[in-house]
């Protein structure tokens, strides 16, 4: 790997315009594979969801999954695409051990959906339209594990182990037209596009689109052209960029790298590159001796798909509210800013917040917990918000306990910690950890008396009108009650005892 001196980002953008193409693969959440009846349960034992067809045994044949086609059409419609009146599957021929037939059943020049767009919203509320070239149906490959070698990676491995459970799972590949005119916001647009697409896929209910589980994978194609030029430069193709943050970083890195190569009078090689999560760089893939020639031809084992117009219109009529419009509605209902809404989206929190509201929590409380304490925890643990072992109902219960005065915010955080640690329902955690607010005034009375006796000078200050000095006494009481008192109530009792009325 050669070391390159990257051009500073702003400098790169001063001389060049970036052009991006994004290819996103979405694994559908169908019960069965695209061309056979094998189950698609994640985490099944190796090679237990495999039949003659998805193992590519001699003589086996494919039959199309109707829900796979329906999902593709729904995605196409949601992306404002035209839906083909007649289209075919095609074979993409190349050898690779994780692909049982050594061709991928895909679509070539006749995709089921084409010519669409997706409007995406940037952090500041600016809307950018990403044009969609096509969305087509294809199948996933098996999974290889590389054994031996230093890193467990493919390079240097002694041999590989193959599990074909994933082979044949339906994929929809969504390809943008070249994204031009984003300028220095290109990486941000890339991220926002993938985020919006993810929301859309989830809203359609066709996939959970979990990037961390490979249910949604992104390739970032990027080229630069000198400002003012109208001809695209040579592009690099960065494969399998598998988080929103990585999409943005990969685009940013490639802009800087391309600029560095071009500035030195070098040429960009059209090649596959790999993104490294650890340091945010990309490196060159294997240089192939010869250009790939996939020898596409119509799949003779399948017949054409010709979706009836009535069916397409019925599916169009059944589309759910699209995520961006839904966010606009929620934003105004919740009375928050575009930036706040965007951060809720980025955190993957919107549905969780809505579910928490449905479970009885006020909107501001639901937002506060998910975007505050819980977002922090998810970030620390490196998991998605939805993966935290706490349910919206549990968050709503914590919120209710606070509203009832049974928990302070500080105690509530400890309850949430308990729930996350698997200690049970919020009420159980409160009981087990003894976290209920000490609201018995007589119990507090002793602690307050002790505090007043220990700090007579502070008591005098309060009597003389310096009410702010009460903080020191409240602190002492809270300490004595191990934080389980309601600080506001303690303050009231102190003033009561000293016979003063603040304000």
């Amino acid at each position: 790997m050669s070391v390159i001196d990257l051009v500073p980002y702003e400098e790169a953008l001063a001389s060049y315009d970036p052009v991006m193409g994004l290819e996103v693969h979405v694994e559908l959440g169908t019960k069965t594979k695209m061309f056979c009846g094998c189950a698609t349960v994640p985490g099944a034992e190796p090679n237990s969801q495999v039949c003659p067809t998805c193992l590519g045994l001699p003589g086996s044949l494919p039959v199309v999954n109707a829900i796979g086609v329906e999902s593709a059409i729904r995605i196409g419609l949601a992306l404002n695409c035209e839906i083909a009146e007649w289209c075919r599957f095609a074979r993409k021929n190349y050898f690779y051990p994780d692909m049982p037939k050594n061709f991928q059943t895909s679509q070539y020049d006749e995709p089921i959906a084409f010519n669409g767009y997706l409007d995406v919203e940037l952090e500041d509320g600016e809307v950018f339209r990403v044009e969609i070239e096509r969305a087509h149906m294809e199948e996933d490959t098996g999974k290889s594990t590389h054994v031996g070698g230093a890193t467990g990676r493919i390079h240097g491995a002694e041999y590989s182990l193959l599990d074909y459970n994933r082979a044949g799972i339906p994929l929809i590949e969504i390809v943008t037209k070249p994204i031009v005119g984003a300028g220095d916001r290109a990486p941000e647009v890339a991220r926002a596009y993938v985020a919006e697409l993810r929301e859309l896929i989830r809203a359609l209910g066709v996939s959970e689109a979990r990037m961390d589980m490979g249910q949604m994978r992104c390739d970032v194609n990027l080229s630069l052209m000198p400002k003012g030029a109208d001809k695209f430069g040579t592009r690099s193709e960065t494969k399998n960029v598998n988080s929103l943050r990585s999409v943005e970083r990969a685009a940013r890195f490639e802009i800087q790298r391309h600029a560095a190569v071009l500035n030195e009078g070098g040429k960009i090689v059209q090649e596959t590159r790999h993104f490294h999560e650890d340091n945010g760089t990309t490196t060159s893939g294997r240089i192939k001796e010869e250009a790939e020639d996939y020898r596409y031809f119509p799949e003779p084992d399948l017949v054409p798909v010709a979706p009836a117009r009535e069916w397409v219109e019925q599916l169009r009529g059944e589309l759910p509210e699209l995520p961006r419009l839904r966010r606009q509605r929620l934003q105004s209902e919740w009375g928050i800013s575009a930036v706040e809404m965007q951060s809720a989206l980025n955190a993957g929190a919107i549905d969780l917040i809505l579910a928490t509201i449905d479970a009885g929590a006020p909107a501001d409380q639901a937002r506060k917990w998910w975007l505050g304490e819980l977002a922090r925890r998810a970030n620390e643990d490196g998991v998605e918000l939805a993966e935290l072992p706490i349910t919206p109902a549990q968050v709503a219960r914590v919120s209710a306990l606070v509203a009832e005065g049974k928990l302070t915010d500080k105690l509530a955080r400890q309850v949430i910690e308990g729930v996350l640690a698997g200690e049970g329902e919020p009420d159980e955690v409160v009981a087990k950890r003894g976290l209920a607010v000490v609201s018995d005034d007589s119990a507090l009375g002793d602690a307050i008396d002790a505090a007043l006796a220990a700090q007579p000078d502070v008591a005098d200050k309060i009597r003389s009108g310096k009410f702010a000095a009460a903080g020191a006494l409240v602190g002492a009481v809270m300490k004595a009650t191990r934080g389980q008192a309601d600080a506001a109530r303690v303050k009231e009792l102190i003033f009561e005892k000293l016979g003063v009325t603040p304000e």
Binding site: K31, C36, G37, A39, V63, V64, A66, W86, Y96, E290
Partner: protein, 98 residues
Amino acid sequence: MPGITREEVAHLARLSRLELKSEELDHFAEQLNDIVDAVARVSEIAAEDVPPTSHPLPLTNVMRADEVRPSLSPDEVLAAAPAAEEQRFRVPQILGED
């Protein structure tokens, strides 16, 4: 039509994953040339306005319901494997994208 050279046969063999021997390259070059010469005739009548037929049947929309059918058992899946380990197919090192 241009003839098929020895180099072209070597290229086709690489694409088709056939480790041909040197003498096979010559032999196949000659035979493929003859065959391609003969079959190139198809372009004589393949006029612009003739639509292609990729399949003899006029069927469309043959699909199945998204219902699970039994898979093979892992033992059956792996029964013919040249090598297996940990219930997976064991294959030589893959020179892949890295």
